[in-house]
C-alpha cells in the first residue's frame, strides 16, 4: 500500500514536472504558433543560472545570493534572455514557414547547450533548495517536500497562466494575435512587443522549472531536454494548446511511467510515456481531453 502511494506520488510529481515544462512552450505556441524546441535547454539554463547566482562568488563576483532572492533574480534573468532570444532567433523569421522557425529553435537549442557546457563544464552541479531533505508522510509513504512543492507550483503556474489568458487584457491580446495577427494589428495590438513578452514569460517559466527540478538530482546538460520530451508527450495528450489539458496529460504520463512502470516491465518504463503518446497521435490526434477534430487529408 505505501509503495502504491509512493509510486502514485512519484507519478503525480513527474506529471507535474512534465506539465510545468509544457506550459512554457505552450505559452509561446499559443501566442505565436511556434513551438520552441529550445525550451528544454532553457530549463537547463535556468538551473545553471540559479546555481551561478547562489553559489561561490555569485554572478560577476557580486557575492552569492540567498536561495529565494537568487531564485527571483534567476527568473528575471531568464525573462530577459527569452526576450533576447525572440529578437535573435524568432523575429527575423516572422512570416516564414513553421519549418524554418522550428529548425531555428533547434539551432538555438544546440547553441544554448554548448554554451552551458563551456560555461559550467559537464561535471554535474547541484542547486540547493530550502525544502531539501524534508518529507511529508502519507499512508506510510514519505514524499519529499520538493516534489510536493513542484505539484503546488505547477498548479499555481497553470492556474495563473489560464487566468492570464482568460481574464487579462494582455492574455486577450495574445490570443487575438495568435488567432489573426493582421486583424490584431488593426485593433492596435502591439503584436511584436507581445511576442517578446510571451517569449520572455516562457523563458521565465523555464527558469522556474529549472529551479524546481534541479534539487531533485543534480544538474547536467541533458536535464531540460529530457523533461521537454515528456512535456511534449503531456501536451499531445492534453490536446496541444489546452493549458488545463496539459496537466491531465502530464498526470497520465507520470502515472503510466511510475505507477504502471513500477509494477509491470520495470526495465522499460522510460518508454511508456512515449508509447502512450504515439497511440494518442494515432488514435485521437486532437488529444484526450479536447473535443473537435483534426483534419488532415
Amino acid at each position: 500500500m505505501s509503495t502504491f502511494v509512493a509510486l502514485t506520488a512519484s507519478g503525480l510529481a513527474a506529471g507535474a514536472i512534465a506539465a510545468l515544462a509544457a506550459v512554457g512552450f505552450l505559452l509561446t505556441y499559443k501566442a505565436t504558433g511556434v513551438v520552441n524546441f529550445a525550451q528544454g535547454d532553457l530549463i537547463t539554463l535556468g538551473a545553471y543560472i540559479a546555481i551561478w547566482v547562489t553559489q561561490k562568488e555569485g554572478m560577476f563576483g557580486l557575492g552569492a545570493l540567498d536561495l529565494v532572492p537568487g531564485y527571483i533574480v534567476t527568473v528575471l534573468i531568464m525573462f530577459a534572455i527569452g526576450m533576447v532570444l525572440e529578437r535573435l532567433a524568432y523575429a527575423p523569421l516572422r512570416g516564414r514557414s513553421i519549418h524554418v522557425i522550428v529548425i531555428t529553435t533547434l539551432g538555438a537549442a544546440l547553441v544554448l547547450r554548448a554554451f552551458i557546457g563551456l560555461w559550467q563544464g559537464t561535471t554535474p552541479k547541484f542547486l540547493d533548495s530550502p525544502l531539501r531533505g524534508e518529507v511529508v508522510g502519507i499512508a506510510g509513504a514519505n514524499i519529499s517536500q520538493q516534489r510536493v512543492l513542484i505539484v503546488v507550483v505547477t498548479i499555481v503556474v497553470v492556474s495563473a497562466t489560464i487566468a492570464l489568458f482568460a481574464f487579462t487584457q494582455f492574455g486577450r491580446q495574445l490570443r487575438a494575435t495568435a488567432n489573426d495577427r493582421d486583424t490584431a494589428k488593426l485593433c492596435g495590438v502591439p503584436v511584436n512587443w507581445l511576442s517578446m513578452l510571451a517569449f520572455g514569460l516562457s523563458a521565465a517559466l523555464a527558469g522556474v522549472a529549472g529551479i524546481l527540478l534541479a534539487p531533485l538530482g543534480s544538474v547536467d546538460l541533458t536535464l531540460g531536454f529530457n523533461f521537454m520530451l515528456l512535456g511534449f508527450a503531456a501536451a499531445v495528450l492534453g490536446g496541444f494548446g489546452s493549458i488545463g489539458g496539459v496537466v491531465v496529460g502530464g498526470v497520465a504520463i507520470g502515472l503510466v511511467e511510475h505507477l504502471f512502470g513500477g509494477y509491470v516491465g520495470r526495465d522499460f518504463k522510460a518508454m511508456y510515456p512515449f508509447i502512450l503518446m504515439l497511440l494518442i497521435i494515432a488514435l485521437r490526434p486532437q488529444g484526450l481531453f479536447t473535443r473537435g477534430s483534426v483534419q488532415r487529408l
Binding site: 513551438v35 535573435l88 532567433a89 527575423p92 523569421l93 512570416g95 516564414r96 514557414s97 513553421i98 519549418h99 524554418v100 522557425i101 522550428v102 529548425i103 531555428t104 533547434l106 539551432g107 538555438a108 537549442a109 544546440l110 547553441v111 544554448l112 547547450r113 554548448a114 554554451f115 557546457g117 563551456l118 560555461w119 563544464g121 489573426d180 493582421d182 486583424t183 531536454f225 520530451l229 511534449f232 508527450a233 499531445v236 496541444f240 526495465d267 522499460f268 522510460a270 518508454m271 512515449f274 508509447i275 503518446m277 504515439l278 497521435i281 494515432a282 490526434p285 483534426v294 483534419q295 488532415r296 487529408l297
Partner: protein, 659 residues
Amino acid sequence: MRGQPYLWLGLFLLGVALYRQYGVTGLGDQDLINTWLYYSVIVVGFYLVFGVSGQFAFSQAAFAAIGGYTSAWATRIALFGVDSFWMGLVVGIVVTAVIAVVFSLLMRRASHFYFAIGTLGLSEIVLVLLRRWTEFTNASGDTTAGIRRASIFGFPFDDSYRQFWLWLSALAVVLLLTIWLARSPVQREAMAGRDQEVVAATVGVPTLRVRVAMFVLGSVIAGVAGTIFVHTKTFATPESFGIDLGLGIFVMLILGGLESRWGPIVGAAFYVFVPQWLQGGVLGIPGVEFTVDAFGQEHRLGDFRDIFFGSLLVITMIAFPEGLVGIGRRVKSLLLGRVHPAQRTWLSDLFGITPRKKERDRQPPPPRDDGRPPGSVGAEHPPVTGSSAPTVEGNRAPDPDGAAPAVLVADDIRVQFGGVRAVDGVSLSVLEDEILGLVGPNGSGKTTFLNALTGVVPASGSVEVHGAGVPFGKPWRVRRLGVVRTFQAPQTYIHLTCLEDVLLSAPDRTLSGMTAACSVRPAMISRERARWDDAAAALEQVGLGDVAEDPTARLSYGQRRLLELARAINAQPRILLLDEPSAGLDASETEQLAEHLRNLQREGVSMLLVDHKLDFITSLCDRIAVLELGQLVAVGAADTVFEDQRVVDAYLGVDEEDL
C-alpha cells in the same frame, strides 16, 4: 531529359575514388572519409523524407539503429540458418521497412508538428529498447561487440581502406535511387503532395500512399546505413544512434541544402571535415590551431563544434535557406550570368521566404485575405443564413426537354463552418454534355459547394457521379470517377516545370509507384513517355507548348490559369468543375478560355462553371444556377434566370422597399 545526373554521379564517384587512391595518406583521414560517406547515405535518405516529401522527421537515427541492431541480431543467431552479412542486411531492410510502414500509417493524421514529436518519441523508445533489451542486443554494458564483419565473396571489409569501397558503393546505389526517383512519377507526386496536398489529391495523386512510400524509402536507406555501420565497426552502442546523430542529420541536410541530392553530401562533408580542420588539420590540410580562453579554460576552436553548428543553423535559416548547394548555384549563376530557373522557387514554397508576396502573385484582385493559411482552398466567405430565401427545387429531373441524363447529382449538400451555414441544402445536377453556370455574389457559397463536391471540405448530403456514390473527404476517389476541378486562385506547384505539373493529373497511373520507379524502369519510362506526350499535347492545346520546360513559377498569372486548364484537360475528365477560371484574365484571354471550354464540351465533357463575369457565363452556359446565401435561388436558361428580379437584386443590392 534534363541535365546529365548519371554523368555527374559518375564523375563524383570517380573523383572520390581517385582521391582515396592517391590522396589519402593515413587511416585517420580514411576514417573521416568513411564517416562522411556514412552520414551522406543517411542524410540522402533524410533528403527524401524531409526535402522531397516535406515530412519533419527526427527518426533517421532511430531507423539506422533498428536496421543495424536487427541485422546484428540476425547474423548472430544465423537466422534461417544463413550465416551471412547479406542475409542480415536483407533482414534489416525488411524489419526497418515494416516498422516504417506501420509508424507512418499510425502517424497519417498527424500534422507536421505532431509528426516531428512522434518521431522524437519513436527515437526515445528505440533508445530505451537498445539500452535495456539485452536479449536482443546482446550487449555487455552498453556495447554490443563481436558483430559479424561485412564481407563479400570471402573478402572481408576489415579495415577502413577496404570499408571505404563498401561505403562508396552504398552511396552510389542511394544516389542512383535518387536519380531514378527524380525521373519518376513518385517524386513529382511527393513534391506536389508536400506543397499543395489538397490540389494534388484532387488531380488524383494518392498523397498518403506517396508520403508513406517516401518515408519508408528514406528510413530504409537509414537502416541500410546503420547495418553497414555496425557490420564494418563490428560493435555498436545505443549512443551511436542517439539524439546527437538525430540533430546532426538535420544540421547536415539544412546546411548542405535540401533542394538537391548533392545537399546531403556537401552538408555531411562540412559537418565532418570542418570541425576536424578547426581541431588541427584534416585530409592533409593543416588546421588552424586557434585557442580561445573561455570561462577560465583554454579551448580550441574545434571544441566549439556545437555552438558553431547551432549558430550556422540559425544563420542558414535566416540568411540562406537554400544551403551551401544553393549558395554554390547562386555563385555559379552570378559567374555565368544567368539565373537558375527552379532555384529559389520550391524552397520559397517550403520555407515561405516570401509567402505574402507569392500569395498576392497568385491571387486575382481583390486579395482574399481571409485568414486562411496560404494555399488553402475554399477561400469563399461563409454567408449568413436565416433569411427566408426562396427555395428552388434542385432539378433532379433532367432539363425541360427531358433528353440529357444527369451525370452528376448533388442532393441536399450542406456545409457548416462554426455557426455559419456556408452551403445550406443545395441540390443540383449537371447534365450530360452541358455547361452549367453557377453564379452568385461574393460569399454566396459557390466555392464551398465545389469544395464539398470534390471532397475537400466535410459536408453532408449525397453526391452521385454516373450513378456511383461519392464519399466526402476523399478527393482522389472523386477524381477517379472522372471529376476534375480547378481552383479559384490558380494553384500551381511552383517548383515543378509546367510539364511535370500537368503530368500530375495523368489518368493513366500504371507503373507510377515506388516499385516501378526503382525496378521495371524501361516499362515505366515508356509509360512515362506516353504520359509526357499527352501532357505536352495538353499544354500545346492551351498554347503553353513553348514554356513546357519552364518552372511554373515563371508563368504570368494568365498563363497559370491556362496551365490549370491544361492540367484539367490532361486529366481527361468526364465532369469538370471550374472555379472562377476567368478571374484576373483580360478580355482576349477570357475569350481564349471560352474557346477552350467549348472545345472540351464538344469532346463530351460536362462542366460546372463558377464565375462572376456574366458575359462569359452567358456566352458559354446552357443553363445557369444562381446561389445566394448558400441556397439556390434560380436555375434555368440564361435569359430566364436573369429575368428573375431576385438575381438582379443579388448583384446590385436589394432596396429595402423592394422587399
